[in-house]
Symmetry: C2
Subunit: 782 residues, 2 copies
C-alpha cells in the first residue's frame, strides 16, 4: 500500500461498493431501490437487461482514475471499450454529479437515484449500452474493436489531456484493436495528449474464455512491449482488499512515466508509453455460485444478467437479495437515498470530474475552420470542356493552405490509409509532415511526431482516429481508395448511429462532419484490377441517408473545390465525396460550379440539343467518369443522329434524386420534371456506382422505369479504361446507342448497331495494341 | 552456408535470376523478351503496369520453399499476401511448369515465355494482381489484410499440408492481419496442417516506410513471441550471395520444429509455431539510383514501376535495358527462349510443385456433405400458426447431426464470432468441442485442439478462416449477429469477386458456398440497443446479386431447415440467411415449406381473404418478424375492416422480386402478377431490412410505386420489441392502418386512425410498465 494510505483505500473501497450497488440495482430494480424491505418480485424490472460482468472492473478503473485526477489535477477523458458495462459508468457519473449537471432529474439524492435506476434499460430511458445520451462518452462500445483508436484520435493535439482507455479482453481479440496497439508510434509527446490503455483482462466473453486469458504474464509483456508500450500487470484476483492500492500504484507510476516522457519530449519520441493489464475476476462481488452450483464470480456466467428467473423462482429472488444486500446500501445512503457525505468528496470536483471533461462534448470546443477562398485555387474554364485539370491535384493546394492556416490552432488533420501521394494530394505535405514518432533510417522524406498527416495502412485505424478527433472538437478529412472504404462499413454504421443519437441530445453540440474523399475510383483502377473496383461504399452511406449521410459526385475540379468547402464547414454529417485524380476536361467555371453545387443537380444547356424544349431523350450523369462518357456520347449522337433532341442533366448531390418526402435534399417535383422531362421521356443515366443505388432513390418518383441505368455491373479486371467501361456497358458508345434506341426516331436501330460496332472495334484495338485508341485517350469536348 | 552446399546455392541463385528477369520482363516488355537486340521503345508495353518492389522477395521465398519441398517431400501451399507481386508468382509457376499444365500456350519454352510476358497486365490477359486465373492461388491479395487468416483456414483438417504464408509489412499494419497472429492458438498439431508465416519486411509501402520498419529485432521477436510464434529473423540485406543459404537454414529449422511439434502433438499443443521475419531490400536487384539520383533498390521508389518514362526518355530506356541485362538472360535461356536444363531441375516435380498443390483448386477435393433428412428434425405444424418453435434451436440438432456424420471426414466446420450459445445453436457442441489448443484454467466446459467449432471475437478471423477452408475443399457455416456481419463487408466484396472470376476459369472446380446465418436479428436486439440493430449486410450482398449472392429470409423453422439444406448443398454462392432464435409461431409444415422455398415467394391463401380473386390490398412480408407482424395485421383487419379483401404474400428468396432480366431467380411476370395483383393494386410490404433493398429490386417491375415499404428506418434504442417496431412504423397496427388507408373502402381513415391510436396506447403501456402488453407478447395466430 505504498501509493494509498489505509484511509483512502477504505474510502475508495466504500465508493466502489456504492457504485457496484447502484450498477447492480440499475440492472434489476424498479422499486425498493434501497432494500428498505424484503425484495419482492414486483420490485424487479419485468425485463432485466444489462451486463454485469464487466461493471465492477470498470468501476475499479474509474475510481482509480478519480483518485489520480484528484492527486495530479490531470484532465482525464475515459474511453470505455466495453460499452455494455454502461451501468458502472452511469453509477460513477451519478455519484460525481455529472448526470445532475445535464439533467436535474438525476440529482445526487434519493430522487435522482430512483430515477437513474428506473431509467436504465427501460423503454424511453437509458439504453443498455453507453451512448451519446451519456455524458463523458465519445464511444459507444456496442460493436467492439475501436476504443483504442478512438482514444488515440481524441488525444491528438491536446497536450494536457490524458485519455484513459479500457479495452476488454473480448474486444482485444478483434482485428481493429489488435492493429490499434501500433498507434503508440503516432503519439507525439509534445503536441498530443497521452493515452493510457488499460486491458481489462477478466478472462471471459459470453460463454467462452478469451484468447488473452490463455496468455501468460510473460507473453502479455512481450506482446505489448513489442508494440511500443510498457505494460504493468495488476492482478487483483483474490486481493479485493488491496485492489485499489495496487491499481493506484500502477496508475501513479504510469502517470509519472507519462509526465517524464512529455517533459523530455524532444528526446523521448521513441519511449514506450505505459499501459496497464488489469487481471480481475469477472463479475467481482457476485456470490460464488448460483442455485445450481455453477460458478458466478470469476466465470462467464457473470457476463450478462448473472442471476435469472428471479420473477419465477423465489430462491433466485432470495439469492439476488442476498447479493444486493452484501453491498450494505444503508451504510452508503441515507434513508432518502442521498449518498453519504464521505462518498461525495471522493471524486474530483467541477470540470475535473471525468464525465465533465470538455472534450467529451467536442462540439463545444469546435471553432469554424478558416477556409481559404476557393476562387484563388479554381481552374480557369473559359468554356465548358475548355480546360484540362485533375480534380484532387486542384484541391491539394487548397488543403495545403488550410493546413498552413491551422498550424498553430492544430485542429485539422488528414487521415489516409493509402498515402496522399497516390491520391495526388501530396501538395499537403508542403505544409506539414507525415506523423510518426520514430525515425526510419534511410527514408529520404520527413517524418515528424507533430506532422498532421496520419498515414497508416489501416482503414480501421484512420477511421477510429478521425472519429476520436472529430468528437473532441477537431476537423478532418479521410481520403481513401474507393474500393477499400468498405473496409470500415461497419464503423461508419456505428458512427452514423452515434451522430444520429447525438442530434437528439439537447446538450450535445454539433461536431465537424466526417468527410471522405474517395479519389482512386474504380473506373480508373483499370491498372490495379478487379479488387480495386468497387463502388459499394455509396450504397452503404445511402442506408444512412436519414441520419446525416450524403453522397456527392462533383464532375470536375471546381465543383470538387466548392463541394469540399461545403463539407468542411458542415456539421454532424457524413459526407462521401467521390472525385478523380487524373487530368480530365473541366466543365464549369467557378460561378457555374457554385450554382450547380447549390442546386445539387441541373440541366447543362450548353451540352443539350433540345433547344430548351421537350427532349427526345435525357442523358443523365453522376460522377466524373460518367460525365465524360455522357458528353462524349452527346458528340457521337450529334454526328450519328443530328435530329435527336438531347438534354444533358448532371447530378452532384445524389440525394437530390430522392423524393422530398424521402429526404430533405430531394429535388422538388417541379425541378425534377424540369430536369428529367415529362411522362414517357426516356432517361439514359450513366452512374458512377452500382445502378441499384439510383434505383432505390428513384422509388416514389413518377415512372421510375423510364430511367435506364448504366453503371458498375461487377465486371472488372486489369485492362484499359475504355475496356473497363465497355465490359460494364458504360462507354460513350453504349450510352449513345441506348439513347438512340430509346428515341422514336427512324433508323435508331441502325445507328445503335453502328455505335456498338464501333465500340467492339475499340475494344479489339485495345486487345491488339495494349492501350485505348487515341480517339478515346485524347478525346476533347468541342 | 550450413543448410545448402555451394552448388545448390549457386543453383538457387541462378533460378532466382531467371524468375526475377521474367517478372521484370512481364512488367515492361512486349517484344524482344530475351534482349536479343538493343531495347527499343516499341519493345516496351504502351501501358507499363505492375509492382516490382515485392517481387524479388517473393521469389526468394518461393524458391526457398521449392528447395524445402524437394528435400522433405512436404506438400506445400503458398498464400501470397502481397498479391500485387503477381509477376514473381507467375514466373515461378511458369518455370516449374504449372502454367503449362493449365494452359498449353504457356509451355516451358520460348513460345510460352513470350506468351506469359505479353499477357501480363495486357487487356484480356492476366491481371496485374494475383487472381483465380492463376494456378495455385487461393487468395487475391489486392485488398490487404487477410492472407494469414486464409492460410490458417486452408490448413485446418489437412494434417500433412504445410501452408506457407507471405505477409507484407504493409499488410501487417492492417487490423485483420494484426488480429490473425492469434490464430496460432487454434491450430491443432494433430488434425490440422502447419502454417508458416513469413513476414516480408522490405520496409516500404507506396511512398512511406512501414510501421514494422521502425521495429527493432528485439521488438519483433517479442511481439510475435507474445502471440504464440517462435520467430526467426533472416536478414539478407547486403548478403545477396548468401541469401538462399541463410533462408534455407531458417526454413529447415522451421520445418524440423514443425515436424517435432506434430510428432509430439499430444504434448505440444501449447508449443510456439515457427515463423520467419525476412528482412530484404525492396526491389532487390534494381540499379542503386534512378536518373535523378533517387534511390531505387531498397527504397519506396521500387514499389511499382521503378523506372518510368521509358517511352519518352531514351536515357530511362537505357537504364531499363541495363537493369534487365544485369540478369544476363542469354545465360538462362537458349536462343528460342527455352530455359536451360539446369533451371528445370531446380523446382519439385509433378504434384509436389507448389502451384500444383491440390488444395489450391479445392473444388476438386470437395465431396458432397452428407445432409441428414430434414424430415426427422422438422417441427410438427398441424395448422398454420398451430405450433411454437425457435428457428435456430430447430436447426441446431440438424447441424449437430452433420457434425457427427463428418467426425471422420473432418470437412465441415462452424465459424462464429458471437458464440453458438448466444445464437441458440449450442446443440452443435454436443457433437464437437470449441477449438482451442490451450487449456484455460477454471473454465468448466470443453475446449479441444481438434474441436470443429471455431469461436473467436473477430468477424475478420472467422471470415478469413472460412474462406481458406472453403477454397481448399471444405464446407462451412458462419453464424453471426446481424448488425456485425457488416464488419466483413469488404472481405465479402473481395471473396465475391474471387468466386465470380473462378467461375470463368475452366479448370477451377466449384467450391462449397459461403453460408451466413444471421441469427440475432435487429428486431430482437431491442435489449442490446441501437448498435446491435443494422440490417445493412443485406444491401451489401445485393450488390453481389449477379455474382452468386443470395438473400434468404425463411419465415419459420421448417423453411429455415429447407433453406439451410439447399445452402449447404450449393456451390459457388454466397448465401445470406436471416432467421430468428426465439420461440415464434410456425406457419408451414414440411411439405409446404419445401414448396414455398422452391418457389422463392408465394401467396398464403390460408391467411388471405380475397377468396382467390383480386384483392383490395396485398400484404407482403419478408423475414420472420415482418411475417409475424403481417399476420397479426391480417387479424386486426379482420376485426376492424371485415369487408377488406386481403392477399398475403411471403417472400423467402429476396431476389425473386427482381425481374427475370435482372436476375435468374427473378419471378416470371405471370407469377409476379399472380402474387402482387394487377395494375393499381396497392402492396403494403413489411420487410426485414432497409426499405431501399426492396426498392432497388423492384426497379423494372410494372408500377413499382404501388409498393409501400415498411422496414428498418434507422430508429433504434434499448426498448421493447413492440416499441422498436413502432419507431420504425412496422407494427401490426402500422401495417393494418396502412393497408386500410390504401383500400378504397369507406371508413378507411377512421379505421386507420383507430389502429394507430391502439398502437400509441401500446407504446405508452410499454413505457409505463417496462414491457410489451400481454396481447402483443402472447399473440397467437388463430
Amino acid at each position: 500500500m505504498t501509493a494509498l494510505g489505509a484511509q483512502r483505500a477504505e474510502e475508495l473501497a466504500r465508493y466502489r461498493r456504492a457504485c457496484d450497488y447502484i450498477a447492480a440495482a440499475m440492472i434489476y430494480l424498479r422499486s425498493n431501490v434501497l432494500l428498505d424491505r424484503p425484495l419482492r418480485s414486483e420490485d424487479v424490472k419485468p425485463r432485466v437487461l444489462g451486463h454485469w460482468g464487466t461493471c465492477p472492473g470498470i468501476t475499479l478503473v474509474y475510481s482509480g482514475l478519480n483518485r489520480l485526477v484528484r492527486d495530479t489535477g490531470r484532465r482525464t477523458l475515459l474511453v470505455t471499450g466495453p460499452g455494455h458495462g454502461a451501468p458502472a459508468v452511469h453509477a460513477n457519473l451519478w455519484l460525481e454529479g455529472t448526470h445532475a449537471e445535464h439533467d436535474p432529474e438525476l440529482s445526487v439524492d434519493g430522487h435522482g437515484l430512483r430515477e437513474l435506476i428506473q431509467r436504465f434499460s427501460w423503454p424511453g430511458g437509458f439504453p443498455s449500452h453507453l451512448s451519446p445520451e451519456v455524458p463523458g462518452v465519445v464511444h459507444e462500445g456496442g460493436e467492439l474493436g475501436y476504443a483504442l483508436a478512438t482514444a488515440v484520435g481524441a488525444a491528438l493535439d491536446k497536450p494536457d489531456l490524458l485519455v484513459a482507455c479500457i479495452v476488454g479482453d473480448g474486444e482485444a481479440e478483434t482485428g481493429p484493436t489488435a492493429g490499434s496497439w501500433q498507434s503508440a508510434k503516432f503519439l507525439d509527446p509534445k503536441t498530443s495528449g497521452a493515452v493510457l490503455p488499460i486491458l481489462h483482462l477478466n478472462r471471459y466473453k459470453i460463454s467462452s474464455p478469451t484468447v488473452f486469458a490463455s496468455m501468460s504474464d510473460r507473453e502479455l509483456v512481450e506482446y505489448f512491449g513489442g508494440c511500443g508500450w510498457s505494460p504493468r500487470i495488476v492482478d487483483v484476483t483474490g486481493r479485493q482488499v488491496e485492489a485499489d492500492a495496487v491499481l493506484a500504484e500502477a496508475l501513479d507510476r504510469a502517470h509519472s512515466d507519462i509526465a517524464e516522457i512529455q517533459r523530455e519530449a524532444d528526446r523521448s519520441r521513441d519511449a514506450a508509453w505505459p499501459m496497464i493489464v488489469l487481471r480481475s475476476p469477472k463479475g467481482l462481488g457476485l456470490p460464488e455460485t448460483d442455485l445450481d452450483g455453477a460458478p458466478l464470480e470469476g466465470s462467464f456466467h457473470a457476463h450478462q444478467v448473472p442471476i435469472d428467473d428471479v420473477h419465477d423462482d423465489p430462491e433466485a429472488l432470495r439469492l439476488l437479495e442476498s447479493w444486493l444486500s452484501s453491498y450494505r446500501p444503508r451504510e452508503l445512503f441515507d434513508a432518502h437515498g442521498t449518498p453519504n457525505d464521505d462518498l461525495l468528496s471522493v471524486p474530483p470536483s467541477n470540470s475535473l470530474r471525468i464525465g465533465m471533461t470538455a472534450e467529451s462534448n467536442g462540439g463545444r470546443l469546435r471553432t469554424e475552420l478558416p477556409l481559404p477562398d476557393v476562387g484563388r485555387f479554381a481552374v480557369d474554364v473559359p468554356a465548358p470542356g475548355g480546360a484540362q485539370a485533375g480534380a484532387t491535384p486542384t484541391l491539394g493546394p487548397w488543403l495545403t493552405r488550410i493546413l498552413r492556416d491551422t498550424a498553430d490552432r492544430r485542429d485539422f488533420r488528414i487521415f489516409c490509409p493509402d498515402e496522399l501521394e497516390s491520391n495526388k494530394l501530396d501538395a499537403a505535405l508542403e505544409a506539414t509532415d507525415r506523423c510518426f514518432t520514430r525515425e526510419v533510417a534511410g527514408y529520404d522524406r520527413p517524418l515528424s511526431p507533430d506532422g498532421r498527416v496520419m498515414e497508416v495502412l489501416s482503414e480501421h485505424l484512420c477511421q477510429g482516429w478521425i472519429e476520436g478527433y472529430l468528437l473532441t472538437g477537431g476537423h478532418g478529412l479521410f481520403p481513401c481508395y474507393e474500393a477499400f472504404a468498405s473496409i470500415i462499413d461497419s464503423m461508419l454504421n456505428q458512427y452514423a448511429k452515434f451522430l444520429k443519437m447525438s442530434g437528439e441530445v439537447p446538450w450535445r453540440e454539433p461536431v465537424s462532419s466526417l468527410n471522405y474523399l474517395l479519389t482512386s475510383e474504380g473506373w480508373r483502377q483499370e491498372h490495379n484490377g478487379y479488387s480495386h473496383q468497387g463502388p459499394g461504399f455509396i450504397n452503404n452511406v445511402l442506408t444512412k441517408k436519414t441520419s446525416g449521410g450524403r453522397v456527392l459526385l462533383p464532375p470536375d475540379a471546381n465543383t470538387l473545390l466548392v463541394t469540399m468547402r461545403e463539407c468542411l464547414s458542415s456539421v454532424d454529417r457524413i459526407n462521401l465525396v467521390v472525385a478523380g485524380k487524373h487530368d480530365a476536361p473541366q466543365w464549369l467555371d467557378l460561378p457555374a460550379a457554385e450554382e450547380h453545387c447549390r442546386n445539387g443537380l441541373g440541366t447543362w444547356p450548353w451540352a443539350s440539343s433540345d433547344g430548351g424544349g421537350e427532349p427526345d431523350v435525357v442523358l443523365a450523369c453522376a460522377g466524373n467518369i460518367p460525365t465524360i462518357e455522357t458528353l462524349a456520347a452527346v458528340q457521337l449522337l450529334r454526328r450519328a443522329l443530328p435530329e435527336l433532341r438531347v438534354r444533358v442533366v448532371n447530378i452532384v448531390d445524389l440525394l437530390a434524386l430522392a423524393t422530398p418526402q424521402a429526404h430533405p435534399n430531394g429535388a422538388g417535383d417541379e425541378v425534377f420534371a424540369e430536369c428529367f422531362g415529362g411522362a414517357g421521356t426516356p432517361v439514359v443515366f450513366a452512374f458512377h456506382g452500382y445502378p441499384s443505388a439510383v434505383h432505390e432513390l428513384l422509388h416514389g418518383r413518377p415512372e421510375p422505369n423510364r430511367f435506364h441505368l448504366h453503371g458498375y455491373r461487377e465486371e472488372g479486371t486489369t485492362t484499359t479504361p475504355y475496356c473497363l467501361l465497355a465490359s460494364n456497358t458504360m462507354t460513350r458508345h453504349d450510352l449513345a446507342a441506348d439513347a438512340a434506341r430509346r428515341s422514336r426516331l427512324p433508323h435508331r436501330e441502325e445507328v445503335a448497331r453502328e455505335l456498338l460496332r464501333e465500340r467492339d472495334e475499340l475494344v479489339e484495338h485495345a486487345h491488339r495494341n495494349g492501350t485505348d485508341a487515341p480517339a478515346i485517350r485524347e478525346w476533347r469536348w468541342t
